[in-house]
Symmetry: C2
Subunit: 232 residues, 2 copies
């Protein structure tokens, strides 16, 4: 089993995804929200690219979730905080979600036979699941506006670390992320707080979100993309 | 002064290079060769994109240097080893060079007001030069066929380390490369030997090149691109 990393959506064209198990990663905060929501009883989450698609699904009874540039959209029910997604009244409900980077990465993954959703919140579940399947793995970081970001790369490194006995690191991207995680794993929150994305988000007063999104293994679930929706 | 990193030529469109000092980096082996040659008395090196351009310059008296996929081209005078470039009979001569990744990165840098050439072989010279100038800095890794690579990123991290007091890390790419270098600096050759590119090159029996390209500060020079040619 081989494992590789795509650091930003701008590089995905360089990878043959047709036979891969893709793990989409957007730690701050799209995939953390998805894990938190589905782990707290939300029935399904439908990632969509545009505000308009989200509003159309809202008319069909979906909870509308979304942000642009880290801020909740005024007309939506909830923004892009994992705590928004964990509200007890959303149990059994469907959420339609649009975010800046995460939704785009999911959309670009659709040529793969399997797409799952990873965040520190379900790190061990992702590692265990990947060990049990046979496909080569592509860890797909959502990045930030097409750029490399620290928190997604660190999570990718954590997955490489978890699979170091089972998987062959298929690129320097995997080797680097592995060593980066090794050097930072003792204080993930500290390093993620130093990332540029966290600095931007901190302006919105959501340090609590960053801390929560940096904490491993709150949920033992593996969300999968099936027919355009995420379920567990 | 801000410092940022572009990890592969595929991402350069995301950066505004119009006001930057760009450091082009292709440790294995294009920029190492350029530093070794110019540091050993070669008058100038002209990077060109194609074999045909190189041959045309050969007819004008240039030494023809080039490789494709790590191998010397049969009709050329020399390949892409720093030892090739350091031959005493090349003192005062002009070299035309075409390589897989490095030439492309130089070509894509031409919109910047200043383009200089970095490798471990001139690490301290690059750091000292960057301290003395005022522009924001973009470290431009040539990568490997559009992919992230370890050795160029490590060199970028070394430059960030050298400028940590003078420059603001302007992205997560800079933060990550800095920490990666911190964790690997005690044995650069070991880690660079583990890179995928080094593994590919090792098949051609050039472990000596990899060791030499991993050694810092053999030359106290800063090659600059002026009118399409590199000189010091």
């Amino acid at each position: 089993m081989k494992i590789d990393i795509c650091y930003t959506p701008e590089l995905i064209q360089q990878f043959d995804v047709s036979d891969k198990c893709i793990v989409v990663i957007d730690v701050l905060r799209a995939t953390s929200c998805m894990v938190a929501g589905l782990g707290s009883g939300v029935e399904s989450i439908r990632p969509v690219a545009t505000v308009e698609e989200c509003e159309a699904l809202g008319k069909q009874g979906y909870i509308m979730a979304g942000e642009r540039g880290g801020k909740k959209l005024a007309q939506f029910n909830i923004g892009n905080s994992p705590f928004d997604y964990m509200q007890s009244e959303f149990k059994g409900k469907r959420i339609a979600a649009t975010t800046t980077n995460g939704t785009r990465a999911i959309d670009l993954s659709k040529g793969a036979p399997e797409v799952i959703i990873g965040a520190f919140l379900n790190l061990s579940a992702i590692v265990n699941y990947l060990k049990s399947q046979k496909r080569d793995i592509l860890l797909f970081c959502a990045g930030w506006k097409g750029h490399y970001n620290l928190e997604d790369s660190l999570f990718a490194g954590a997955v490489c670390d978890g699979l170091k006995k089972e998987a062959e690191f298929d690129s320097d991207a995997a080797i680097s992320a592995f060593y980066l995680y090794e050097s930072m794993q003792k204080d993930l929150f500290y390093y993620i707080s130093r990332s540029n994305h966290a600095a931007r988000l901190s302006k919105f007063g959501i340090i609590k979100d960053i801390e929560y999104c940096s904490s491993p293994d709150a949920f033992d679930i593996v969300p999968k993309l099936v027919d355009g929706s995420l379920t567990i």
